[in-house]
C-alpha cells in the first residue's frame, strides 16, 4: 500500500469508458480515515482490545438482563444467603452468586456490572467534554497568538501544575459529591493536556500555504479554524481521547475509592474496592474481581489507543518494514536509526504524578 493515500485499484477499470473515467477509476483516492481503519484492522492486539471493549459495553448496557437472570438487584442485600455464619461475604458460585457477595451480602457480579456503567459513562462523557474544550482553547491560543495565547497558556500551565489530587478532592467536597460534580472535576483536569497538543499543531498548520490561500480568498479566522485547521487536528485529538478514557476511568475510581466520588449505594468500582479493604483476610474475590474488571477495561482502552496511534501514523509501515530489513541486514540488536526512530510524536497522555 502506498503511503500517499493513493492506491492503484488495478484492473477494475471497466472497458468502454472514456479515458478520463478510466484514469479516475484506476487511481482510487482513500481518505485518511479509510487508510487508518485498514491499518488498524490488521493490528491483532488493537482489534482484540476493541472486541473486549465491545463486550464490556454490552455487559454494562444489558446489566438489567443479568439482574433478571440472577434475581439479584444491585442494591439489595441478602443477609441470609449472601453472608456466612460470621457475617462475611460468601465465595464465588455460592447460593447463586456467580462471583460471590460483598460486605453486606449483595451480589458482587451484578454490582461490578453496574459499576461498569458508571465507569464507562464517566470515561466517555469527561473525555468528550475535555476534548471539545481542549480543542477550542488550543485552537484559539494557537491561531490568534499574542495576549490570548499567553493568557490561555499560563492558565493551562496553572491547571497542570496544581496540587491536583487535593484540589480535585476539595472541589468534590465543596460542591458536594454527585455524578455531575465528578464529571465536571475530571473534565476540568483533562482539557489542559489536549489544549497543549492542539495549540502546538495549530501553530505549525497555520503557516501552511493553503491557509494563506484561504485567507487570500477572504475566509475569516473562524472559517479557517473550523474548515481548514480543525480537520487536520482530528487525528491527534482522537488518539489523545482514546488514551484519555482509561485515565478518566481510573480518576473516577480513585475519587470513589477515597469516598468523594459516586456515593453509595450506587455501585462504582472504586467504592467496591474501598469496602473490600475490610475483608482482605477472609474474601479474596471481593478485591480481585473488581480490580480485574478495572484492569481489563483500562488496559483494553490503552491498547486500542496505542493501536490507533500507530495506525494513524503513515510511518508505521515504513518503520516496521525498515526495522525488519535492517535487522536482517545487520543482526538483531541494532538500534533503529536515521529518523525511523519511533511513533512518539503524538505523545500518550502521561498521567500526572501518582497516576490517579
Amino acid at each position: 500500500m502506498s503511503v500517499t493515500g493513493l492506491e492503484f485499484a488495478g484492473q477494475e477499470a471497466a472497458a468502454g469508458e472514456s479515458a478520463l473515467d478510466a484514469d479516475a477509476a484506476k487511481i482510487q483516492g482513500r481518505s485518511q480515515w479509510q487508510l487508518t481503519w485498514r491499518r488498524l484492522r490488521r493490528d491483532k492486539v488493537a482489534m482484540a482490545a476493541l472486541a473486549v471493549i465491545a463486550v464490556i459495553l454490552l455487559l454494562a448496557i444489558f446489566a438489567p438482563v443479568f439482574v433478571a437472570i440472577t434475581h439479584h438487584p444491585p442494591n439489595i442485600a441478602y443477609p441470609n444467603t449472601g453472608e456466612d455464619a460470621a457475617g462475611n461475604p460468601v465465595g464465588p458460585g455460592t447460593a447463586g452468586f456467580w462471583l460471590g457477595t460483598d460486605g453486606t451480602g449483595r451480589d458482587l457480579f451484578i454490582r461490578i456490572l453496574y459499576g461498569a456503567r458508571i465507569s464507562l459513562f464517566v470515561g466517555f462523557v469527561t473525555t468528550a467534554i475535555g476534548a471539545v474544550a481542549g480543542v477550542i482553547v488550543g485552537l484559539m491560543a494557537g491561531y490568534f497568538g499574542g495576549v490570548i495565547d499567553t493568557v490561555l497558556a499560563r492558565f493551562t500551565d496553572a491547571v497542570l501544575a496544581f496540587p491536583y489530587v487535593v484540589l480535585a478532592l476539595a472541589l468534590a467536597v465543596v460542591l458536594g459529591p454527585s455524578l455531575t460534580v465528578i464529571i465536571g472535576v475530571i473534565a476540568f483536569f483533562s482539557w489542559a493536556a489536549i489544549a497543549r497538543i492542539v495549540r502546538g499543531q495549530t501553530l505549525s498548520i497555520k503557516e501552511k500555504e493553503y491557509i494563506e490561500a484561504a485567507r487570500s480568498l477572504g475566509a475569516g479566522p473562524f472559517r479557517i479554524m473550523i474548515f481548514d485547521i480543525l480537520p487536520n487536528l482530528l487525528a491527534p485529538v482522537l488518539v489523545l481521547a482514546t488514551l484519555y478514557i482509561p485515565t478518566a476511568i481510573v480518576f473516577e475510581a480513585t475519587l470513589s475509592y477515597l469516598g468523594l466520588g459516586i456515593q453509595p449505594p450506587t455501585a462504582s468500582w472504586g467504592d467496591i474496592l474501598a469496602d473490600a479493604q475490610n475483608f482482605y483476610s477472609t474474601s479474596w474475590w471481593y478485591v480481585v474481581f473488581p480490580a480485574l474488571a478495572l484492569l481489563i477495561t483500562t488496559l483494553a482502552f490503552n491498547l486500542l489507543g496505542d493501536g490507533v496511534r500507530d495506525a494513524m501514523d503513515p510511518r508505521t509501515e515504513r518503520v516496521l518494514a525498515a526495522g525488519k530489513a535492517r535487522r536482517r541486514r545487520r543482526g538483531k540488536h541494532q538500534v533503529l536509526a536515521d529518523g525511523q526512530a519511533e511513533l512518539s510524536h503524538v505523545a500518550p497522555y502521561v498521567p500526572p504524578a501518582e497516576g490517579s
Partner: protein, 321 residues
C-alpha cells in the same frame, strides 16, 4: 550574575504563584456557608446557640475580606493558623506529617528511576525485541492500574499471607527511621513498590521514546562513524541528551508528590501530608486544608526552579537568562 537574576526572578514569580494558589484555596473554602462549617464542627445535635458560639470563636462571623487579611498577615509571619479540632498550630502538624511523605517519595523515586531508566534504555536499544515487547505490556498494565488497586493487591497477596505465617518484617502504617532502619524499610517497602510501579511505567515509556528519538539524530551517526563503541555511543551521546525531558518530568513529579501522595498514604495508613489533607477536607478543617495546599504548591514551585537549573547543567544549549 545571570544566575542570580534568574533565581531572583523565579523566586519572585514563585511567590506570586503560591499566593495565587493560597488565595484560590482560601476563597474556595471560606466562600462556603458559615453555618455548614460550624454545624460540622459542633456536631449534629448542636443547638443554634452552640453553633453561633462556634462561629464567633473561630472568627467566622467577620467579613470575608477581614478574615482574608488576617490570613495573609499570619502567612507572612509564618503562622498558618490552628486546627479547628485539636487547636494545634498547622505548622506543627506539617512538621509531623512531612516525614512519612518524604520517606515515601525518596524511596519511591530511587526505585522507579532504577527500574524505569534501566528497562527504558534496554527497550530502546533493542527495539521490537522480545524484551521490548514484554516491557511494553508491563508498562501498559502499570499505566492501566489505579494506584490504590496495586496497593490493595500487594496487601492481599504479600502482606496478609506473610503476616499470617508469622513473617512480620513487612508492615503497613508508618514507623520512623528513628525506630530502626530495618523496621522503617519494612513499613515502607510496600508503599515504595506501589508508588514506583505506576511511575516506573511512565518513566520507562518516556526514556524509551526519548532515547529512540535521540538515536536517530545525525550526531549519533557521526559518533558511530568515528568508531566509538555502541555502548559508548548509547550512554555518552544518546542517554545523556535523552535524559533532559526525563529530568523535567522528574522535577514536576517529585514536587507534586511531596505535596502529598494521597492514595498510597491512605491505602497503607501512613499518615503524611496527603492523608491528613484528605481527612481535613472530610472534616471541614479549613486552616489545615489551606496550610497543606500552600505547602504543596510551594513544593511544585521549588521543583520547577530546580528543574530549570538542572536543565542548564545537562544541556549546554540551554542558557540561563
Amino acid at each position: 550574575m545571570a544566575l542570580l537574576g534568574f533565581l531572583l526572578r523565579r523566586i519572585l514569580t514563585g511567590i506570586v504563584v503560591v499566593w495565587l494558589v493560597a488565595t484560590g484555596a482560601f476563597f474556595l473554602f471560606f466562600a462556603r456557608p458559615v453555618a455548614t462549617v460550624a454545624h460540622q464542627l459542633a456536631g449534629h445535635a448542636a443547638t443554634p446557640q452552640v453553633i453561633n458560639e462556634v462561629i464567633n470563636n473561630l472568627g467566622l462571623n467577620q467579613p470575608i475580606m477581614v478574615q482574608y487579611w488576617h490570613f495573609l498577615d499570619g502567612l507572612l509571619h509564618g503562622n498558618l493558623g490552628y486546627s479547628y479540632y485539636s487547636q494545634e498550630p498547622v505548622t506543627t502538624m506539617l512538621k509531623q506529617d512531612l516525614p512519612p511523605t518524604v520517606s515515601l517519595v525518596i524511596g519511591g523515586v530511587i526505585l522507579w528511576l532504577v527500574v524505569g531508566l534501566t528497562v527504558g534504555i534496554i527497550s530502546a536499544t533493542r527495539a521490537r525485541s522480545l524484551f521490548d515487547r514484554s516491557a511494553n505490556v508491563a508498562v501498559l498494565i502499570g499505566l492501566s492500574l489505579p494506584v490504590f488497586v496495586i496497593g490493595e493487591l500487594l496487601i492481599l497477596v504479600v502482606f496478609v499471607p506473610l503476616n499470617q505465617h508469622g513473617f512480620s518484617w513487612i508492615q503497613t502504617q508508618y514507623s520512623g527511621p528513628s525506630n530502626g532502619l530495618l523496621t522503617w524499610s519494612g513499613h515502607m517497602i510496600l508503599p515504595w513498590i506501589t508508588l514506583a510501579a505506576v511511575q516506573a511505567a511512565v518513566y520507562t515509556r518516556l526514556m524509551r521514546g526519548q532515547l529512540l528519538d535521540t538515536m536517530g539524530e545525525d550526531y549519533i551517526r557521526t559518533a558511530r562513524s568515528k568508531g566509538l563503541s555502541e555502548r559508548r555511543v548509547t550512554f555518552k551521546h544518546g542517554v545523556r541528551s535523552a535524559l533532559t525531558p526525563v529530568v523535567s518530568q522528574l522535577g514536576v513529579d517529585v514536587g507534586q508528590l511531596l505535596g502529598g501522595v494521597v492514595v498510597v498514604e491512605v491505602v497503607f495508613g501512613l499518615g503524611g501530608i496527603g492523608q491528613v489533607s484528605v481527612e481535613a477536607i472530610d472534616t471541614d478543617n479549613l486552616p489545615v486544608i489551606i496550610g497543606f495546599v500552600i505547602v504543596a504548591a510551594a513544593f511544585v514551585v521549588v521543583a520547577n526552579i530546580v528543574v530549570d537549573l538542572v536543565y542548564a547543567l545537562l544541556d549546554p544549549r540551554v542558557r540561563i537568562t
